[in-house]
Amino acid sequence: MFNVQAIRADFPILTQTVKGKNLVYFDNAATSQKPKQVIEAIANYYETINANIHRGVHYLSQISTDRYEAARETIRKHVNAQHAFEIIFTSGTTHGINLVASGFEPLLNENDEILIGALEHHSNIVPWQFLAERTGAKLRVIPMLENGTLDLSSLSEILTEKTKVVAVNHISNALGTINPIREIIAAAHAVGAAVLIDGAQAAPHLQPDVQALDCDFYTVSGHKICAPTGSGFLYGKESWLNKMRPYQGGGEMIKEVTFEKTTYADLPHKFEAGTPNIEGGIGLGVALDYLNNIGFDKIAAQEQSLLEYATAKISAIDGARIYGPDTSHKTSVVSFNIEGVHPYDLGALLDKMGIAVRTGHHCAQPIMNFFDIPGTVRASMMFYNTFEEIDALVNGIEKAKQMLL
C-alpha cells in the first residue's frame, strides 16, 4: 500500500497554504519539492563538515571528500554505470549537454551531422546549434507525429554514416512522451554515432540502466528528483569521455600545469573544474537514497494511477484537448488546452485558486509550432500528489472556464 500521507509528511512545503488555500503543486516537471531528509542533509553539511574537497589534508576536507565521493557511488549504482569515474557531477542537465556538445567540438567537421528529436527542450537544441555553428556540421531533426511521438519511419534516411551524435530526450517535458530510445540508440550505434539521452524528465519517474540502454551519455538534473537545485550528473562512457575535450579549465581538472602546456587530470576530474556544489552533490545522493527507499516500482505505479485519473477527469471537461500520446506511452504529465481559452488565462486563474501549473511553451517552442498553439497548460504530477488534488484542479478548470467563456 502506498501511504501518500506519510510521504507528504516528509515534504514540509506541501503543508503550506497559498493565498489562503492548500497548496496544490502540479509543476513538478519544472522542479520537484524536497523531502526533509535532503533539506537536513544540506544543513548538516554546513553545520558539521563544510570544507573544500580533494584538496585539504585536514580532517574536514577528508570527510566532505568522502561524502561527496560516496554520493558519486550512490549515483553510479543507481544508474548501473560500470565505473564511478563515468559519473560527472554537473549543475544539471543543461550543464551536462553543454559539456558534451563542447567536448565534441574537436571530433566534428563540416561533413558531419548531428541529429536531435522534434520533442527536445531548448537545452537539448541550442548547445547542438552552437556545435554546428562552430564545426560546420549540419543539424538534423527526427520529425514528430500528430500524437506527440517521434516519427521513426524516416530514421534510416536521416541517420546515416555522416551522423556523429544523436541527442534525444528519454521523456518529453512538454508532453510527457516516453521516447523509443532503445531503438534510436541501436540505430545510431549501427552507423557509429554517439548517443546522448536527456534524462531530465525520466529520472524522476524511473531508474535508468545505462548499461542496458547502452547509451553513451545520460544527463540528469538533481532539482527534478527531489535533490538540491544546482546539482546534477552526467553519465558518460569512459571511451567517449577520454576522447572529449574538457569543458572548462581551472583547478581540480589538471594533472600538471606549466605556462606552455597543461595535462589533464584523470576522469572524472577532467570535467570537474573548480570547486563544485559539494552540498548539492551530497544532497543528490541523499535524494536518490530517499527515492530508492520508496522504490521506483512503487513510484511509477502511483504516478501511473494519478496520470490515468487526471487524464480521465480532464478529458471529460467539455472542450478539453490533451496533447501527446495515450497514458500507456507517457509519464505523469497532462499537457492540455481548453477550446477558446488561452493557456495564460487558465494558468493565471488556477494560480488564484492556489493551484500551481505551468503554462506556455515549456521551453519547447518547436512542439507548439507543430500544433500551431501559443502554448499549453501542463499539470505534472509526482508520487506525493493526491487524487484529491486532481479533483481540485478539475474544479478549478471548470470555475475558470465559467469565468472566461
Binding site: 493565498k19 488561452h342 493557456p343 495564460y344 488565462d345 493565471a348 486563474l349 488564484k352 503554462t359 506556455g360 511553451h361 501559443p374 502554448g375 469565468m403 472566461l404
Partner: protein
C-alpha cells in the same frame, strides 16, 4: 480628465469589490477584456506585435489634435482586460502627460502580478511601447511648433 484622475477613478471602482474575494475583480477584468473594442484589423500586424512569450499584444497609436490615441489587443483575455485599463488611463492624453505618468495604480487594484516583468505576458513591454509612442509624438510636435 487627467491621467491621475482617471487612475483614481479606476481605483475607486475596484474598491467596490470585496478585497477578500479575487473572483469579482478578475471577472471584471475578464469582462473588460471581452468588451474592449478591438484594434482595427489592419493594425494587427507583425510590426505592431509585442512578444510577451506567454501572450501576444498588439499596440497601435495615432496622434490626433495633440493627443495620443491608442488601440490594442491581445490573444489572452486577462491581458486584454488589463490593456483596456491601461488604455483607459493613457489614451487621448498629451504626450508630455503620458511620459510623466506612472502605473502603480495597478498595484492598488490588486493586479500587480500581471504587470511584473517576470509574467512575460507582454504588458510591461506594452507600457514601455506606450511611452515610446508618446516620446515620438512629442518630438514630432516640437519640430512642428
Amino acid at each position: 480628465m487627467s491621467i491621475s484622475a482617471i487612475q483614481e477613478e479606476i481605483v475607486a471602482e475596484f474598491e467596490l469589490f470585496d478585497p477578500e474575494n479575487w473572483d469579482e475583480r478578475y471577472q471584471y477584468v475578464i469582462d473588460l477584456g471581452k468588451s474592449l473594442p478591438l484594434i482595427d484589423a489592419k493594425y494587427k500586424t507583425d510590426e505592431n506585435i509585442i512578444k510577451g512569450c506567454q501572450s501576444k499584444v498588439w499596440l497601435h497609436a495615432d496622434y490626433e489634435g495633440g493627443k495620443v490615441v491608442y488601440s490594442a489587443d491581445s490573444d489572452a483575455i486577462l491581458t486584454k482586460g488589463l490593456i483596456a485599463i491601461l488604455i483607459r488611463s493613457f489614451s487621448h492624453q498629451a504626450p508630455k502627460d503620458i511620459l510623466e505618468a506612472k502605473t502603480d495604480f495597478i498595484d492598488r487594484i490588486g493586479l500587480k502580478e500581471h504587470l511584473s516583468p517576470t509574467r512575460a505576458n507582454g504588458l510591461v513591454s506594452m507600457v514601455k511601447q506606450i511611452k515610446m509612442y508618446a516620446l515620438a509624438f512629442s518630438s514630432k510636435s516640437e519640430q512642428q511648433a
